[in-house]
Subunit: 205 residues, 2 copies
DNA sequence: TAAATTCCTTATCTTTTGTTAACGTTTTGA
DNA sequence: TCAAAACGTTAACAAAAGATAAGGAATTTA
């Protein structure tokens, strides 16, 4: 992965996106921005691989990625992230243990990056520590809520209901992601999703 | 729910448990402990209900709870927490929106409690703010990793494999939780879990 | 302690999903 | 640009899960 210094426009987009969690003043942002680099992934290029310890947390400027695992030699896609979202093999990044899955660009993808070491530097920097802890807390809490909903969908919904929810709530995924990945995401096989779609066509309830 | 001041032994257990995330010095702990109260739940008593905004985060001193949703008039159990763990309707607690599920004591359960308002006070207290943000970040990150694994299990494993994992890794759940709740937890019906158990008896591979 | 309720298993039947393979279409990449 | 690979659908069959009901054991509770 080739890194370079980020351009100012990109940093502005990043700053804006982070305001969902925390607002940096000028001085803080100056310090923060010094730790940001940029990178580009060609379609199908990997951001993370099984067995590797995640070194970066990424912010997707443009493009999208999928998270997948390999089981019995088969790729199984578990999640997607699009522009404006953070991306990382979180568990690996946070625990410094080898990751168990892959992250791969679905499209040509431009990222902003913060390395683990840089993040630690910021967490230890007297002028940034407090706000970075807060940023980390709010970010983790935000994703915790997302995960909670996703788990709940597996417990309380059938695959067909999960698909209908996707259709009504997450049109973007439908439009930007191949169907066999969506099938995995719903916890079923591509063949089964194709059948569900056919069923819904003829009984759109 | 009846609250009272916690006894010192309970606070000590709490302090010890929180060291997984953060270590308070004496002064900090004094301030922290002032915001802790205690409560007791009889078996089947509720800690949270659908439609209510969660006011407390709890720490289970003794006992256990289950998280469940009601769908089509049926209770569906999604999770359990045991002594030494935190418990809350997190999404509701964090977002101040009405919760979508229930939390109920599986056994007589003793809790330590921190209210949302007290937590905010601590997050705003000059001598505690930094450490509380850090505590919140590390806690949320910890549960994020747990959730990530759980989601991944729904994507990559069959119900039978999930059950086998439970048998090998989480004996405590098996021993303390009725089987039909475990079935829900695995994303299947009690009847189906009974069949899986029978299959495994005769082909323990 | 007796009655009521809950819990687990089992059986039957239906529905859904998984597996494998085939086929035409689209996309990819050399 | 052209061959190869990937994609979505469909079919046929097997395997698993859901729904419902019944029966006995265990637990609860009045």
């Amino acid at each position: 992965m080739i890194k370079s210094p980020p351009d100012p426009a990109a940093l502005l987009v990043f700053r804006k996106a982070l305001e969902k969690f925390v607002t940096f003043n000028e001085e803080e942002w100056m310090l923060f921005a010094q730790h940001v680099s940029t990178s580009f992934l060609k379609k199908k290029e990997h951001f993370a691989r099984e067995g590797e310890i995640a070194s970066y947390i990424g912010f997707i400027l443009t493009g999208s990625v999928r998270y997948y695992h390999i089981k019995d030699g088969e790729e199984i896609t578990g999640y997607f992230s699009f522009d404006g979202e953070l991306v990382s093999s979180y568990k690996s990044f946070l625990t410094r243990q080898p990751g168990t899955g892959y992250i791969q660009a679905l499209e040509p993808t431009t990222l902003l990056l913060i390395s683990f070491d840089d993040l630690q530097d910021m967490l230890n920097h007297p002028l940034l520590a407090y706000k970075m802890e807060r940023f980390g807390r709010l970010t983790a809490e935000y994703y915790l809520c997302c995960y909670e909903e996703r788990i709940s969908s597996f417990i309380t919904q059938t695959p067909e209901e999960r698909y209908q929810d996707l259709v009504s709530k997450e049109r973007e995924i439908l439009q930007r992601v191949p169907q066999h990945y969506i099938a995995n995401f719903l916890g079923i096989t591509p063949v089964s999703l194709s059948r569900i779609r056919k069923r819904l066509l003829f009984q759109p309830s």
